[in-house]
Symmetry: C2
Subunit: 280 residues, 2 copies
């Protein structure tokens, strides 16, 4: 693997940043706020940031880069798909419980639901994430989708996965902003008490976590390699990844034969499409 | 151009969404708030969202996709770099003026500066954006940087450009959240007055604008095509784009000669790197 040392350093940073974010969320709830409980009061609300940061930020981030881990490249693609889908399912379940906590708290306190930009974008992100999971399961895990459909859906799946991940982080930043303004009254947020500095730092941590995950997920040379023998792949039944790889080999031959600019561009486009594979 | 109709539709949507966001920011300032002035009062603060949305969101978004416009592909790369750098410079100037407005307002009103997560991440984004502009100018516009340096910096430049753009949108969402909580007291934000619904809608508009720009910027088949004749390029002096293209052609020959998996992977990585070109 090219740049293995850098990859390991970034992976270590991502895991450390994600883990630290969860620790910060727990310290915020348990030390600065009212703790954690399921009582319709503030301690129930506090499950919201803890579960969002654990599932919807940390676990989702790891699910995105799980194909990149070079020691998993010997595992079957099916196993890796199951791990990717499994991690995303855990993230979705934690996100849904975190929503129940906040709706329950609002209802108990007679606070309106769904009035803030945070809630509008956050709920949309959860719904799109669930759709992405169902669609990913149907197209890439179940054996029914034709290869052409998989190849068409793959770049959309990768793009929407990364977009939802970024949107979730943006939504978390809005949530932190809201909560600090509402919770800090004397001293106010604007007088920068210790809790404000601590939770602002949490916000910075998740932005850096997101940046590291997005860098790792978009480096082409860190992708899980595809097998290179079309005959072997046909024997194995193939999948959408191998399909793009076969196109690539065919396009190669075409280029050598004709060496035209149009053929080169066509191959370039196909290669780039193939480059989109392997995040699910 | 592959998918020209879709490209035109998305370009039209991006321009419409960006323009509508600026209109929404103006209506917010002029109709719902205190208008626009430079008087140390709320009307001075209002320049902050108007200028951020105009420059740091709309103009920056257009600067990101300007290389994709197929009718510019006949223009020289130098001209397109100047337009890209020029648009980003305009965006930076507007962002800096928007910061002056908010610091000036805070100082006049004895409100502390730089206490919120919005301010921490927003100021960091402006500083990184300025560094990105200076570095981009030095490496890609001035004629001194060796081609190998340009090829090394290009993927970092593209990644940080898109990351800063996404971070700016996240910061705008935090800013909207802050301002609505502070400004709406009776009726409060939580009772969803008309202004709250209007400005939440503005938040949704900029997220969709960002999503469209990021889709357009990351589609490999919508990239500005590179010239394909290494001899011609050498005569013209070449640049980082042509350099990666030359590597690509050389790598091609190597592959045909050896046809090894290692060579194929190396070429794949180089091609993918080359695929990162042309966003500056």
């Amino acid at each position: 693997m090219e740049g293995y040392g850098l990859f390991l350093g970034l992976l270590g940073s991502a895991v450390a940043l994600g883990f630290l974010s969860v620790v910060f969320a727990l310290v915020w709830a348990l030390h600065y706020r009212e703790g954690l409980a399921w009582d319709g009061d503030a301690a129930e609300f506090n499950w919201h940031p803890v579960l969002v940061l654990t599932g919807f930020v940390f676990v989702q981030g790891i699910a995105i880069i799980v194909y990149r881990l070079p020691w998993t490249w010997k595992c079957s693609k099916l196993l890796m798909k199951l791990i990717h889908a499994g991690l995303n399912t855990i993230a979705l379940i934690l996100a849904i419980i975190s929503l129940v906590a906040v709706f329950d708290f609002h209802n108990a306190k007679k606070i309106p639901n769904m009035y803030s930009l945070h809630s509008w974008i956050g709920l949309t992100a959860v719904i799109l994430y669930a759709l992405q999971l169902v669609l990913g399961f149907a197209v890439f895990l179940l054996p029914f989708a034709p290869l052409s459909l998989r190849a068409t859906i793959m770049p959309i799946h990768v793009y929407s996965g990364l977009l939802i991940f970024g949107t979730v982080i943006a939504t978390a930043l809005m949530g932190i902003t809201e909560k600090l303004i509402f919770a800090l009254k004397s001293p106010a947020y604007s007088s920068s008490p210790e809790e404000a500095l601590f939770v602002n730092t949490l916000g910075v941590l998740i932005v850096v976590f997101g940046a590291v995950v997005l860098w790792m997920a978009t480096r082409p040379h860190w992708k899980r390699p595809a097998e290179h023998n079309p005959k072997l792949l046909q024997q194995n039944g193939g999948n959408e990844e191998e399909s793009t790889m076969t196109d690539y080999n065919n396009a190669d031959k075409t280029d050598v034969e004709f060496n035209s600019e149009a053929a080169a561009r066509k191959r370039n486009a196909k290669l780039d499409e193939a480059g989109q594979r392997s995040t699910m």
